[in-house]
Assembly symmetry: C2
Homo-oligomer: 202 residues x 2
């Protein structure tokens, strides 16, 4: 039976992975995975769209029965990718894209090695600085910390299959879309069904 | 230094690999490799465009000094892919596409493992029969032989990285173009130069 493909997209904060994933889901036949979190919803965030907002108790229940493809704790709040929801879509033949940090991606490499791992890079550090600065009122010190963090994260790139430099957004989206299309042309089990058909025809 | 990529396209006769490669070379920034042969040029075939037409003596001279990426003999005529011409383009950063039979592709797998191998499939055996029949005046027996041959060739598909079903030509070309684009986004040595630049910027 034909199964969907799981694409895992990560990269340093400010590289634009979120925007790329949203655009990809909009343009093509691919579903954006929705994470579960114990943090409070921000204004305009809808349950089941931005995140599934749950209590700590619910979160730990899912975690303890191995219900996450990956999970992490950031500033005391928990975040996780619900396994069942992703698996159900893949079984139905739908592609799924996950936007996720590097630590989460490495967990998924272990739990779902068939995933396709894409790293989004900024065109330069000065451009990344500009993007982070543009977001709001962070101090010079905290911006430098984040750039140092980005450089550390980039060193994990050899754990990934693909990398896309996000200088121009539409070019970056079209590159990720090409990766999705190409991965559907991989020699895989489903091709043997076609060959079996050839055999029957002769 | 950035190097071009070598794409090797094969598939059974009638699958449409020639048309796909020509269209790809026309649409995109990729060079079609020109083979060397000892067969006579047909009318309208130009030396250096369709083939390099050479004498047996010249062919053997190239072969004996290891000058072919692959070579084969078909009906007493020799065909080979000149290594130097391909390597020079790759070194210059140009992509090269080779349209070649399965035996040749397997030789290239050994001689140039960095190549990317794409198998072109017909949508069905009845469609392949139609295409072969449409070409001219082959006997029913010879057509059946060729279909049997095609089925044997298809069993080598697991030596390939990608396969593209050529039902609709423009869809097939766009799939191969997506593979080319995706392969340029592979995590490779050239990305480490960019990361080195990041480091210098910080």
């Amino acid at each position: 039976m034909y199964k969907g493909l799981l694409f895992v997209v990560s990269g340093p904060s400010g590289a634009g992975k979120g925007t790329i994933c949203k655009q990809l889901a909009k343009d093509s036949n691919i579903d954006l995975s929705v994470s579960m979190t114990t943090r409070d919803p921000r204004p305009f965030e809808k349950d089941g769209v931005s995140y599934y907002f749950v209590s700590e108790e619910e979160f730990f229940k899912v975690r303890d029965k191995g219900g996450f493809l990956e999970y992490a704790t950031v500033y005391g709040k928990h975040y996780g990718t619900p396994k069942d929801a992703v698996m159900k879509k893949l079984e139905m033949g739908r592609d799924v894209v996950l936007e996720i940090d590097i630590q989460g991606a490495l967990q998924i490499r272990k739990n779902y090695p068939a995933g396709i791992f894409i790293f989004i890079l900024p065109p330069s550090m000065s451009e990344l600085r500009k993007r982070i600065t543009g977001r709001g009122s962070e101090s010079e010190e905290s911006i430098n910390l984040r750039l140092g963090e980005a450089l550390k994260e980039v060193s994990y790139i050899d754990k990934y299959d693909y990398c896309v430099v996000n200088g121009d957004l539409s070019e970056a989206v079209s590159r990720v879309a090409a990766i999705v299309k190409a991965e559907h042309s991989r020699v895989s089990e489903s091709i043997y069904e076609l060959i079996e058909q050839y055999r029957k025809e002769l």
